[in-house]
Symmetry: D2
Protein backbone atom coordinates (compact mmCIF):
# COMPACT_ATOMS: atom_id res chain seq x y z
CA UNK A 1 0.00 0.00 0.00
CA UNK A 2 1.35 3.45 -0.90
CA UNK A 3 0.88 6.33 1.52
CA UNK A 4 1.18 10.05 0.82
CA UNK A 5 2.82 11.86 3.74
CA UNK A 6 1.04 15.05 4.90
CA UNK A 7 4.42 16.71 5.45
CA UNK A 8 6.93 16.66 2.54
CA UNK A 9 9.75 17.04 5.08
CA UNK A 10 8.71 13.85 6.85
CA UNK A 11 12.16 12.28 6.71
CA UNK A 12 14.03 15.19 8.31
CA UNK A 13 11.30 15.56 10.94
CA UNK A 14 11.45 11.84 11.75
CA UNK A 15 15.24 11.78 12.00
CA UNK A 16 15.21 14.86 14.23
CA UNK A 17 12.69 13.33 16.63
CA UNK A 18 14.57 10.00 16.73
CA UNK A 19 17.80 11.85 17.55
CA UNK A 20 16.10 13.40 20.60
CA UNK A 21 15.26 10.02 22.13
CA UNK A 22 17.69 9.30 24.92
CA UNK A 23 16.43 5.73 25.00
CA UNK A 24 17.41 4.98 21.38
CA UNK A 25 20.88 6.42 22.04
CA UNK A 26 21.29 4.37 25.22
CA UNK A 27 20.48 1.17 23.30
CA UNK A 28 22.59 2.11 20.29
CA UNK A 29 19.65 1.89 17.87
CA UNK A 30 20.14 3.21 14.35
CA UNK A 31 17.49 4.65 12.05
CA UNK A 32 18.08 2.72 8.82
CA UNK A 33 15.09 3.47 6.58
CA UNK A 34 12.53 6.29 6.67
CA UNK A 35 9.84 6.01 3.98
CA UNK A 36 6.19 7.08 3.87
CA UNK A 37 4.53 4.65 6.30
CA UNK A 38 7.67 2.54 6.87
CA UNK A 39 10.59 2.84 9.28
CA UNK A 40 13.42 0.39 9.89
CA UNK A 41 15.64 0.41 12.97
CA UNK A 42 18.82 -1.64 13.41
CA UNK A 43 20.55 -2.63 16.62
CA UNK A 44 23.95 -4.33 16.97
CA UNK A 45 24.39 -6.82 19.80
CA UNK A 46 26.27 -5.86 22.93
CA UNK A 47 26.30 -7.80 26.23
CA UNK A 48 24.39 -4.89 27.82
CA UNK A 49 21.38 -5.75 25.62
CA UNK A 50 21.14 -9.34 26.77
CA UNK A 51 18.80 -11.44 28.85
CA UNK A 52 20.10 -14.16 31.16
CA UNK A 53 21.09 -16.54 28.29
CA UNK A 54 23.12 -13.97 26.33
CA UNK A 55 20.57 -13.34 23.55
CA UNK A 56 18.94 -9.98 22.89
CA UNK A 57 16.51 -9.22 25.72
CA UNK A 58 12.88 -9.53 24.58
CA UNK A 59 12.12 -6.18 26.14
CA UNK A 60 14.92 -4.50 24.17
CA UNK A 61 13.63 -6.12 21.01
CA UNK A 62 10.10 -4.89 21.79
CA UNK A 63 11.50 -1.47 22.51
CA UNK A 64 12.93 -1.02 19.01
CA UNK A 65 9.86 -2.65 17.44
CA UNK A 66 7.64 -0.11 19.22
CA UNK A 67 9.88 2.73 18.01
CA UNK A 68 9.92 1.46 14.42
CA UNK A 69 6.11 1.40 14.40
CA UNK A 70 5.78 4.74 16.14
CA UNK A 71 8.02 6.44 13.61
CA UNK A 72 6.35 4.65 10.68
CA UNK A 73 3.11 6.33 11.75
CA UNK A 74 4.92 9.62 12.41
CA UNK A 75 6.12 9.81 8.77
CA UNK A 76 2.50 10.28 7.66
CA UNK A 77 1.48 12.87 10.26
CA UNK A 78 1.16 16.62 9.70
CA UNK A 79 4.24 18.67 10.65
CA UNK A 80 2.72 19.85 13.94
CA UNK A 81 1.56 16.45 15.20
CA UNK A 82 3.11 14.32 17.89
CA UNK A 83 2.79 10.54 18.14
CA UNK A 84 1.63 8.44 21.07
CA UNK A 85 1.69 4.66 21.35
CA UNK A 86 -1.79 3.67 22.54
CA UNK A 87 -0.93 -0.01 22.84
CA UNK A 88 1.19 -2.68 21.25
CA UNK A 89 1.48 -6.44 21.28
CA UNK A 90 4.45 -8.58 20.33
CA UNK A 91 4.74 -12.33 19.74
CA UNK A 92 8.25 -13.67 20.18
CA UNK A 93 8.75 -16.34 17.52
CA UNK A 94 12.33 -17.43 18.09
CA UNK A 95 15.26 -16.60 20.36
CA UNK A 96 16.84 -13.29 19.32
CA UNK A 97 20.25 -14.96 19.09
CA UNK A 98 22.59 -13.09 16.76
CA UNK A 99 24.71 -10.10 15.92
CA UNK A 100 22.06 -7.64 14.81
CA UNK A 101 18.35 -6.97 15.12
CA UNK A 102 16.34 -5.31 12.37
CA UNK A 103 12.89 -4.01 13.27
CA UNK A 104 10.48 -2.80 10.60
CA UNK A 105 7.27 -0.89 11.37
CA UNK A 106 4.70 -0.58 8.58
CA UNK A 107 1.48 1.40 8.60
CA UNK A 108 -1.49 -0.91 7.96
CA UNK A 109 -4.17 1.72 8.41
CA UNK A 110 -3.74 5.46 8.52
CA UNK A 111 -6.70 7.25 10.13
CA UNK A 112 -7.34 10.81 11.19
CA UNK A 113 -6.92 9.99 14.88
CA UNK A 114 -5.61 6.42 15.01
CA UNK A 115 -2.96 4.61 13.01
CA UNK A 116 -2.35 0.85 13.10
CA UNK A 117 1.09 -0.62 12.33
CA UNK A 118 2.49 -4.08 11.88
CA UNK A 119 5.85 -4.81 13.50
CA UNK A 120 8.37 -7.38 12.27
CA UNK A 121 11.76 -8.14 13.80
CA UNK A 122 14.51 -10.29 12.33
CA UNK A 123 17.85 -11.31 13.79
CA UNK A 124 20.99 -12.00 11.75
CA UNK A 125 23.56 -14.57 12.84
CA UNK A 126 26.49 -15.64 10.70
CA UNK A 127 24.66 -14.74 7.50
CA UNK A 128 21.39 -16.43 8.47
CA UNK A 129 18.28 -14.33 9.04
CA UNK A 130 15.56 -15.48 11.46
CA UNK A 131 12.11 -13.94 11.93
CA UNK A 132 12.10 -13.50 15.70
CA UNK A 133 9.06 -11.33 16.45
CA UNK A 134 5.80 -10.09 14.98
CA UNK A 135 3.51 -7.47 16.45
CA UNK A 136 0.67 -5.01 16.10
CA UNK A 137 0.50 -1.47 17.39
CA UNK A 138 -2.06 1.33 17.71
CA UNK A 139 -0.83 4.93 17.53
CA UNK A 140 -2.59 8.22 18.13
CA UNK A 141 -1.69 11.44 16.39
CA UNK A 142 -1.69 14.49 18.62
CA UNK A 143 -2.21 17.39 16.25
CA UNK A 144 -0.99 20.70 17.60
CA UNK A 145 0.11 19.09 20.84
CA UNK A 146 3.78 18.67 21.52
CA UNK A 147 2.96 16.95 24.80
CA UNK A 148 1.78 13.42 25.24
CA UNK A 149 -1.64 12.49 26.55
CA UNK A 150 -4.64 10.51 25.40
Amino acid sequence: MAFAPADPDFEARTRESFAKQGAMKLLGAELERVEPGLVQIGLAFRPELSQQHGFFHAGILSNIADSAGGYAGFTLFPADAGVLTVEFKVNLLAAADGERLTAVGRVVRSGRTLTVCSLEVHVDKAGKRTHCATGLQTLMSLVGRAGVSG
Copy 2:
Protein backbone atom coordinates in the same frame (compact mmCIF):
# COMPACT_ATOMS: atom_id res chain seq x y z
CA MET B 1 -4.65 -15.83 44.83
CA ALA B 2 -1.87 -17.62 46.73
CA PHE B 3 0.71 -19.65 44.80
CA ALA B 4 3.05 -22.31 46.15
CA PRO B 5 6.47 -22.10 44.48
CA ALA B 6 7.89 -25.42 43.24
CA ASP B 7 11.36 -24.34 44.36
CA PRO B 8 11.77 -23.11 47.97
CA ASP B 9 14.84 -21.13 46.88
CA PHE B 10 12.79 -19.20 44.35
CA GLU B 11 13.91 -15.79 45.60
CA ALA B 12 17.65 -16.44 45.38
CA ARG B 13 17.19 -18.10 41.98
CA THR B 14 15.18 -15.13 40.70
CA ARG B 15 17.67 -12.56 41.98
CA GLU B 16 20.55 -14.49 40.46
CA SER B 17 18.89 -14.63 37.02
CA PHE B 18 17.97 -10.94 37.18
CA ALA B 19 21.57 -10.03 38.02
CA LYS B 20 22.71 -11.81 34.83
CA GLN B 21 20.57 -9.62 32.57
CA GLY B 22 22.77 -7.06 30.92
CA ALA B 23 19.66 -5.23 29.76
CA MET B 24 18.35 -4.62 33.29
CA LYS B 25 21.77 -3.30 34.33
CA LEU B 26 21.95 -1.01 31.30
CA LEU B 27 18.58 0.52 32.19
CA GLY B 28 19.34 0.71 35.91
CA ALA B 29 16.33 -1.43 36.85
CA GLU B 30 16.11 -2.66 40.45
CA LEU B 31 14.43 -5.83 41.70
CA GLU B 32 12.26 -4.53 44.55
CA ARG B 33 9.95 -7.40 45.48
CA VAL B 34 10.20 -11.15 44.82
CA GLU B 35 7.22 -13.14 46.14
CA PRO B 36 5.54 -16.33 44.93
CA GLY B 37 3.86 -15.24 41.70
CA LEU B 38 4.71 -11.53 42.09
CA VAL B 39 7.74 -9.45 41.14
CA GLN B 40 8.18 -5.69 41.33
CA ILE B 41 10.85 -3.76 39.43
CA GLY B 42 11.70 -0.09 39.99
CA LEU B 43 13.44 2.29 37.62
CA ALA B 44 14.63 5.83 38.41
CA PHE B 45 14.42 8.41 35.63
CA ARG B 46 17.50 9.44 33.70
CA PRO B 47 17.56 11.41 30.42
CA GLU B 48 18.91 8.27 28.71
CA LEU B 49 15.53 6.57 29.34
CA SER B 50 13.47 9.24 27.63
CA GLN B 51 11.44 9.58 24.47
CA GLN B 52 11.38 12.83 22.47
CA HIS B 53 9.33 14.74 25.08
CA GLY B 54 11.51 13.90 28.06
CA PHE B 55 9.21 11.30 29.65
CA PHE B 56 10.10 7.64 30.14
CA HIS B 57 10.17 5.95 26.74
CA ALA B 58 7.18 3.62 26.26
CA GLY B 59 9.52 0.89 25.09
CA ILE B 60 11.64 1.18 28.25
CA LEU B 61 8.48 1.02 30.33
CA SER B 62 7.34 -2.07 28.42
CA ASN B 63 10.78 -3.57 28.87
CA ILE B 64 10.60 -3.53 32.67
CA ALA B 65 6.91 -4.57 32.60
CA ASP B 66 7.88 -7.62 30.52
CA SER B 67 10.69 -8.44 32.95
CA ALA B 68 8.45 -8.05 36.01
CA GLY B 69 5.97 -10.50 34.50
CA GLY B 70 8.65 -12.91 33.33
CA TYR B 71 10.18 -13.12 36.78
CA ALA B 72 6.77 -13.35 38.47
CA GLY B 73 6.23 -16.54 36.47
CA PHE B 74 9.81 -17.67 37.13
CA THR B 75 9.24 -17.60 40.92
CA LEU B 76 6.79 -20.50 40.55
CA PHE B 77 8.88 -22.66 38.21
CA PRO B 78 10.92 -25.73 39.20
CA ALA B 79 14.61 -25.07 39.91
CA ASP B 80 15.72 -26.42 36.52
CA ALA B 81 13.26 -24.45 34.38
CA GLY B 82 13.94 -21.43 32.23
CA VAL B 83 11.35 -18.83 31.25
CA LEU B 84 10.40 -17.60 27.81
CA THR B 85 8.07 -14.71 26.97
CA VAL B 86 5.66 -16.08 24.35
CA GLU B 87 3.92 -12.73 23.83
CA PHE B 88 2.88 -9.64 25.68
CA LYS B 89 0.61 -6.67 25.17
CA VAL B 90 0.74 -3.30 26.88
CA ASN B 91 -1.79 -0.44 26.92
CA LEU B 92 -0.24 2.92 27.73
CA LEU B 93 -2.75 4.78 29.90
CA ALA B 94 -0.93 8.05 30.65
CA ALA B 95 2.38 9.72 29.90
CA ALA B 96 5.15 8.15 32.00
CA ASP B 97 6.15 11.57 33.29
CA GLY B 98 7.93 11.35 36.63
CA GLU B 99 10.91 10.40 38.72
CA ARG B 100 10.39 6.69 39.06
CA LEU B 101 8.58 3.81 37.39
CA THR B 102 7.28 0.83 39.34
CA ALA B 103 6.29 -2.26 37.36
CA VAL B 104 4.49 -5.15 38.99
CA GLY B 105 4.00 -8.54 37.34
CA ARG B 106 1.44 -10.91 38.87
CA VAL B 107 0.69 -14.48 37.87
CA VAL B 108 -2.98 -14.83 36.90
CA ARG B 109 -2.79 -18.45 35.83
CA SER B 110 -0.01 -20.91 36.50
CA GLY B 111 -0.09 -23.91 34.15
CA ARG B 112 2.27 -26.79 33.51
CA THR B 113 3.46 -25.32 30.22
CA LEU B 114 2.02 -21.81 30.06
CA THR B 115 1.71 -19.06 32.63
CA VAL B 116 -0.32 -15.86 32.19
CA CYS B 117 0.60 -12.65 34.03
CA SER B 118 -0.96 -9.24 34.44
CA LEU B 119 1.37 -6.25 34.22
CA GLU B 120 0.79 -2.89 35.92
CA VAL B 121 3.08 0.12 35.77
CA HIS B 122 2.83 3.30 37.86
CA VAL B 123 4.89 6.46 37.71
CA ASP B 124 5.62 8.72 40.70
CA LYS B 125 6.01 12.47 40.33
CA ALA B 126 6.31 14.84 43.27
CA GLY B 127 4.46 12.46 45.56
CA LYS B 128 1.65 11.73 43.12
CA ARG B 129 1.28 8.23 41.70
CA THR B 130 -0.25 7.67 38.22
CA HIS B 131 -1.26 4.35 36.67
CA CYS B 132 0.54 4.62 33.34
CA ALA B 133 0.32 1.14 31.79
CA THR B 134 -1.54 -2.15 32.01
CA GLY B 135 -0.70 -5.34 30.18
CA LEU B 136 -1.04 -9.08 29.75
CA GLN B 137 1.70 -11.60 29.09
CA THR B 138 2.02 -15.28 28.23
CA LEU B 139 5.09 -17.17 29.46
CA MET B 140 6.38 -20.64 28.73
CA SER B 141 8.38 -22.71 31.18
CA LEU B 142 11.27 -24.60 29.68
CA VAL B 143 11.87 -27.47 32.08
CA GLY B 144 15.38 -28.88 31.90
CA ARG B 145 16.34 -26.48 29.16
CA ALA B 146 18.70 -23.67 29.97
CA GLY B 147 18.39 -22.38 26.41
CA VAL B 148 15.51 -20.46 24.98
CA SER B 149 13.26 -21.82 22.25
CA GLY B 150 9.60 -22.46 21.70
Copy 3:
Protein backbone atom coordinates in the same frame (compact mmCIF):
# COMPACT_ATOMS: atom_id res chain seq x y z
CA MET C 1 -12.12 3.43 41.03
CA ALA C 2 -15.39 5.38 40.89
CA PHE C 3 -16.51 6.94 37.62
CA ALA C 4 -19.10 9.68 37.11
CA PRO C 5 -21.17 9.05 33.97
CA ALA C 6 -21.59 12.06 31.66
CA ASP C 7 -25.19 11.03 30.98
CA PRO C 8 -27.45 10.39 34.02
CA ASP C 9 -29.61 8.12 31.84
CA PHE C 10 -26.64 5.89 31.07
CA GLU C 11 -28.39 2.69 32.12
CA ALA C 12 -31.44 3.14 29.90
CA ARG C 13 -29.22 4.23 26.99
CA THR C 14 -26.99 1.18 27.46
CA ARG C 15 -29.89 -1.26 27.68
CA GLU C 16 -31.50 0.26 24.59
CA SER C 17 -28.30 -0.09 22.53
CA PHE C 18 -27.76 -3.66 23.73
CA ALA C 19 -31.32 -4.57 22.74
CA LYS C 20 -30.57 -3.40 19.16
CA GLN C 21 -27.66 -5.83 18.73
CA GLY C 22 -28.80 -8.73 16.62
CA ALA C 23 -25.63 -10.58 17.57
CA MET C 24 -26.35 -10.55 21.31
CA LYS C 25 -29.88 -11.83 20.62
CA LEU C 26 -28.57 -14.59 18.36
CA LEU C 27 -26.22 -15.80 21.08
CA GLY C 28 -28.82 -15.41 23.85
CA ALA C 29 -26.64 -13.01 25.86
CA GLU C 30 -28.24 -11.20 28.81
CA LEU C 31 -27.30 -7.80 30.20
CA GLU C 32 -26.96 -8.51 33.93
CA ARG C 33 -25.33 -5.41 35.43
CA VAL C 34 -25.03 -1.84 34.16
CA GLU C 35 -23.07 0.47 36.46
CA PRO C 36 -20.87 3.49 35.77
CA GLY C 37 -17.82 1.96 34.11
CA LEU C 38 -18.91 -1.65 34.61
CA VAL C 39 -21.11 -4.01 32.59
CA GLN C 40 -21.76 -7.71 33.14
CA ILE C 41 -23.16 -10.05 30.48
CA GLY C 42 -24.34 -13.60 31.10
CA LEU C 43 -24.73 -16.42 28.60
CA ALA C 44 -26.31 -19.83 29.22
CA PHE C 45 -24.82 -22.83 27.42
CA ARG C 46 -26.52 -24.30 24.37
CA PRO C 47 -24.97 -26.77 21.91
CA GLU C 48 -25.08 -24.03 19.26
CA LEU C 49 -22.44 -22.10 21.25
CA SER C 50 -19.93 -24.93 21.32
CA GLN C 51 -16.58 -25.69 19.77
CA GLN C 52 -15.65 -29.20 18.65
CA HIS C 53 -15.32 -30.58 22.22
CA GLY C 54 -18.68 -29.34 23.46
CA PHE C 55 -17.41 -26.42 25.55
CA PHE C 56 -18.26 -22.78 24.92
CA HIS C 57 -16.49 -21.66 21.74
CA ALA C 58 -13.57 -19.30 22.50
CA GLY C 59 -14.85 -16.92 19.86
CA ILE C 60 -18.30 -16.77 21.47
CA LEU C 61 -16.66 -16.14 24.83
CA SER C 62 -14.55 -13.35 23.29
CA ASN C 63 -17.67 -11.96 21.67
CA ILE C 64 -19.47 -11.37 24.95
CA ALA C 65 -16.23 -10.18 26.63
CA ASP C 66 -15.84 -7.56 23.88
CA SER C 67 -19.47 -6.48 24.34
CA ALA C 68 -19.14 -6.26 28.14
CA GLY C 69 -16.13 -3.98 27.74
CA GLY C 70 -17.69 -1.92 24.98
CA TYR C 71 -20.78 -1.22 27.07
CA ALA C 72 -18.72 -0.56 30.20
CA GLY C 73 -17.08 2.29 28.29
CA PHE C 74 -20.44 3.34 26.81
CA THR C 75 -21.92 3.93 30.30
CA LEU C 76 -19.50 6.84 30.78
CA PHE C 77 -19.97 8.48 27.39
CA PRO C 78 -22.10 11.57 26.65
CA ALA C 79 -25.63 10.86 25.44
CA ASP C 80 -24.79 11.58 21.79
CA ALA C 81 -21.66 9.41 21.59
CA GLY C 82 -21.26 6.06 19.92
CA VAL C 83 -18.67 3.45 20.86
CA LEU C 84 -16.14 1.70 18.66
CA THR C 85 -13.84 -1.17 19.65
CA VAL C 86 -10.37 -0.14 18.45
CA GLU C 87 -8.75 -3.43 19.46
CA PHE C 88 -8.97 -6.14 22.06
CA LYS C 89 -6.90 -9.04 23.29
CA VAL C 90 -8.04 -12.10 25.20
CA ASN C 91 -6.04 -14.77 27.00
CA LEU C 92 -7.93 -18.03 27.43
CA LEU C 93 -7.00 -19.41 30.85
CA ALA C 94 -9.09 -22.58 31.07
CA ALA C 95 -11.61 -24.50 29.02
CA ALA C 96 -14.99 -22.73 29.11
CA ASP C 97 -16.68 -25.93 30.24
CA GLY C 98 -19.92 -25.27 32.09
CA GLU C 99 -23.51 -24.13 32.15
CA ARG C 100 -23.06 -20.38 32.10
CA LEU C 101 -20.52 -17.74 31.16
CA THR C 102 -20.27 -14.42 32.99
CA ALA C 103 -18.26 -11.65 31.32
CA VAL C 104 -17.42 -8.43 33.16
CA GLY C 105 -15.98 -5.35 31.48
CA ARG C 106 -14.48 -2.65 33.69
CA VAL C 107 -13.17 0.74 32.65
CA VAL C 108 -9.52 1.09 33.66
CA ARG C 109 -8.95 4.49 32.08
CA SER C 110 -11.56 6.88 30.79
CA GLY C 111 -10.15 9.47 28.38
CA ARG C 112 -11.71 12.08 26.16
CA THR C 113 -11.10 10.04 23.00
CA LEU C 114 -9.94 6.61 24.19
CA THR C 115 -11.13 4.34 26.96
CA VAL C 116 -9.31 1.21 28.16
CA CYS C 117 -11.19 -1.70 29.75
CA SER C 118 -10.23 -4.90 31.46
CA LEU C 119 -12.24 -8.01 30.57
CA GLU C 120 -12.77 -11.01 32.84
CA VAL C 121 -14.80 -14.11 32.03
CA HIS C 122 -15.81 -16.88 34.43
CA VAL C 123 -17.64 -20.13 33.77
CA ASP C 124 -19.91 -21.89 36.27
CA LYS C 125 -20.21 -25.66 36.37
CA ALA C 126 -22.12 -27.55 39.06
CA GLY C 127 -21.59 -24.74 41.56
CA LYS C 128 -17.89 -24.29 40.85
CA ARG C 129 -16.68 -21.04 39.26
CA THR C 130 -13.57 -21.00 37.04
CA HIS C 131 -11.74 -17.94 35.72
CA CYS C 132 -11.57 -18.82 32.03
CA ALA C 133 -10.43 -15.64 30.28
CA THR C 134 -8.80 -12.27 30.88
CA GLY C 135 -8.42 -9.46 28.39
CA LEU C 136 -7.75 -5.83 27.59
CA GLN C 137 -9.63 -3.58 25.22
CA THR C 138 -9.29 -0.11 23.72
CA LEU C 139 -12.47 1.80 22.86
CA MET C 140 -13.05 5.06 21.01
CA SER C 141 -15.92 7.41 21.71
CA LEU C 142 -17.53 8.88 18.64
CA VAL C 143 -19.16 12.07 19.88
CA GLY C 144 -21.99 13.28 17.68
CA ARG C 145 -21.49 10.40 15.27
CA ALA C 146 -24.03 7.65 15.17
CA GLY C 147 -21.93 5.85 12.55
CA VAL C 148 -18.80 3.88 13.12
CA SER C 149 -15.37 4.90 11.87
CA GLY C 150 -11.96 5.69 13.27
Copy 4:
Protein backbone atom coordinates in the same frame (compact mmCIF):
# COMPACT_ATOMS: atom_id res chain seq x y z
CA MET D 1 6.33 -19.70 3.50
CA ALA D 2 5.46 -23.30 2.62
CA PHE D 3 4.45 -25.71 5.36
CA ALA D 4 4.39 -29.50 5.25
CA PRO D 5 1.39 -30.90 7.13
CA ALA D 6 2.18 -33.76 9.53
CA ASP D 7 -1.07 -35.48 8.53
CA PRO D 8 -1.73 -36.01 4.79
CA ASP D 9 -5.47 -36.10 5.53
CA PHE D 10 -5.34 -32.62 7.05
CA GLU D 11 -8.14 -31.26 4.90
CA ALA D 12 -10.70 -33.93 5.75
CA ARG D 13 -9.72 -33.76 9.43
CA THR D 14 -10.10 -29.96 9.43
CA ARG D 15 -13.47 -30.04 7.69
CA GLU D 16 -14.73 -32.71 10.07
CA SER D 17 -13.74 -30.68 13.14
CA PHE D 18 -15.26 -27.50 11.70
CA ALA D 19 -18.54 -29.32 11.03
CA LYS D 20 -18.72 -30.26 14.73
CA GLN D 21 -18.63 -26.64 15.88
CA GLY D 22 -22.12 -25.59 16.88
CA ALA D 23 -20.92 -21.99 17.00
CA MET D 24 -19.86 -21.91 13.33
CA LYS D 25 -23.23 -23.38 12.34
CA LEU D 26 -25.13 -20.84 14.45
CA LEU D 27 -23.31 -17.98 12.75
CA GLY D 28 -23.60 -19.51 9.28
CA ALA D 29 -19.84 -19.53 8.74
CA GLU D 30 -18.49 -21.45 5.72
CA LEU D 31 -15.10 -23.12 5.39
CA GLU D 32 -13.85 -21.78 2.04
CA ARG D 33 -10.16 -22.74 1.84
CA VAL D 34 -8.16 -25.39 3.69
CA GLU D 35 -4.46 -25.43 2.77
CA PRO D 36 -1.34 -26.33 4.75
CA GLY D 37 -1.06 -23.46 7.22
CA LEU D 38 -3.94 -21.43 5.75
CA VAL D 39 -7.69 -21.46 6.34
CA GLN D 40 -10.32 -19.09 4.98
CA ILE D 41 -13.80 -18.70 6.44
CA GLY D 42 -16.65 -16.75 4.83
CA LEU D 43 -19.75 -15.33 6.47
CA ALA D 44 -22.74 -13.76 4.74
CA PHE D 45 -24.47 -10.85 6.46
CA ARG D 46 -27.75 -11.38 8.31
CA PRO D 47 -29.37 -8.92 10.75
CA GLU D 48 -28.70 -11.45 13.53
CA LEU D 49 -24.95 -10.82 13.10
CA SER D 50 -25.16 -7.07 13.61
CA GLN D 51 -24.15 -4.56 16.22
CA GLN D 52 -26.32 -1.54 17.03
CA HIS D 53 -25.57 0.26 13.72
CA GLY D 54 -26.41 -2.67 11.46
CA PHE D 55 -22.83 -3.65 10.55
CA PHE D 56 -21.24 -6.99 11.38
CA HIS D 57 -20.66 -7.16 15.13
CA ALA D 58 -16.95 -6.86 15.99
CA GLY D 59 -17.26 -9.88 18.26
CA ILE D 60 -18.72 -12.00 15.44
CA LEU D 61 -15.92 -10.86 13.15
CA SER D 62 -13.36 -11.77 15.83
CA ASN D 63 -15.07 -15.10 16.28
CA ILE D 64 -14.53 -16.19 12.68
CA ALA D 65 -11.02 -14.68 12.67
CA ASP D 66 -10.15 -16.79 15.72
CA SER D 67 -11.58 -19.89 14.02
CA ALA D 68 -9.70 -19.23 10.78
CA GLY D 69 -6.43 -19.00 12.70
CA GLY D 70 -7.18 -21.99 14.89
CA TYR D 71 -7.88 -24.19 11.88
CA ALA D 72 -4.86 -22.82 9.99
CA GLY D 73 -2.72 -24.16 12.82
CA PHE D 74 -4.77 -27.37 12.99
CA THR D 75 -3.92 -28.20 9.34
CA LEU D 76 -0.27 -28.68 10.34
CA PHE D 77 -0.86 -30.76 13.47
CA PRO D 78 -0.47 -34.54 13.76
CA ALA D 79 -3.68 -36.55 13.32
CA ASP D 80 -4.12 -37.10 17.07
CA ALA D 81 -3.63 -33.49 18.16
CA GLY D 82 -6.26 -31.02 19.28
CA VAL D 83 -5.93 -27.25 19.06
CA LEU D 84 -6.34 -24.65 21.79
CA THR D 85 -6.38 -20.88 21.36
CA VAL D 86 -3.96 -19.54 23.99
CA GLU D 87 -4.68 -15.91 23.20
CA PHE D 88 -5.55 -13.63 20.34
CA LYS D 89 -5.64 -9.92 19.59
CA VAL D 90 -7.60 -8.12 16.93
CA ASN D 91 -7.37 -4.54 15.66
CA LEU D 92 -10.53 -3.31 14.00
CA LEU D 93 -9.47 -1.14 11.06
CA ALA D 94 -12.79 -0.14 9.52
CA ALA D 95 -16.49 -0.71 10.05
CA ALA D 96 -17.47 -4.20 8.91
CA ASP D 97 -20.18 -2.78 6.70
CA GLY D 98 -21.07 -5.09 3.85
CA GLU D 99 -22.59 -8.28 2.52
CA ARG D 100 -19.88 -10.75 3.35
CA LEU D 101 -16.89 -11.19 5.65
CA THR D 102 -13.82 -13.18 4.63
CA ALA D 103 -11.40 -14.16 7.39
CA VAL D 104 -8.02 -15.70 6.58
CA GLY D 105 -5.75 -17.29 9.18
CA ARG D 106 -2.12 -17.94 8.20
CA VAL D 107 0.52 -19.75 10.21
CA VAL D 108 3.49 -17.45 10.82
CA ARG D 109 5.45 -19.82 13.03
CA SER D 110 4.84 -23.52 13.51
CA GLY D 111 6.48 -24.87 16.66
CA ARG D 112 6.32 -28.18 18.47
CA THR D 113 4.08 -26.78 21.22
CA LEU D 114 3.06 -23.32 20.08
CA THR D 115 1.91 -21.97 16.73
CA VAL D 116 1.51 -18.28 15.88
CA CYS D 117 -0.96 -17.12 13.23
CA SER D 118 -1.78 -13.84 11.56
CA LEU D 119 -5.46 -13.03 11.06
CA GLU D 120 -6.86 -10.79 8.32
CA VAL D 121 -10.52 -9.97 7.73
CA HIS D 122 -12.02 -8.21 4.73
CA VAL D 123 -15.58 -7.11 4.06
CA ASP D 124 -17.18 -6.91 0.62
CA LYS D 125 -19.81 -4.31 -0.21
CA ALA D 126 -21.18 -3.73 -3.69
CA GLY D 127 -18.00 -5.06 -5.31
CA LYS D 128 -15.62 -3.08 -3.09
CA ARG D 129 -13.36 -4.93 -0.66
CA THR D 130 -12.23 -3.27 2.60
CA HIS D 131 -9.58 -4.56 5.02
CA CYS D 132 -11.54 -4.38 8.27
CA ALA D 133 -9.42 -6.26 10.83
CA THR D 134 -5.94 -7.58 11.47
CA GLY D 135 -4.86 -9.79 14.31
CA LEU D 136 -2.35 -12.16 15.89
CA GLN D 137 -3.04 -15.43 17.65
CA THR D 138 -1.14 -18.01 19.68
CA LEU D 139 -2.26 -21.65 19.48
CA MET D 140 -1.23 -24.71 21.44
CA SER D 141 -1.24 -28.21 20.03
CA LEU D 142 -2.52 -30.86 22.40
CA VAL D 143 -0.97 -34.08 21.13
CA GLY D 144 -2.87 -37.18 22.16
CA ARG D 145 -5.42 -35.15 24.07
CA ALA D 146 -8.89 -34.81 22.69
CA GLY D 147 -9.83 -32.54 25.57
CA VAL D 148 -8.89 -28.92 25.99
CA SER D 149 -6.59 -27.66 28.72
CA GLY D 150 -3.36 -25.72 29.01
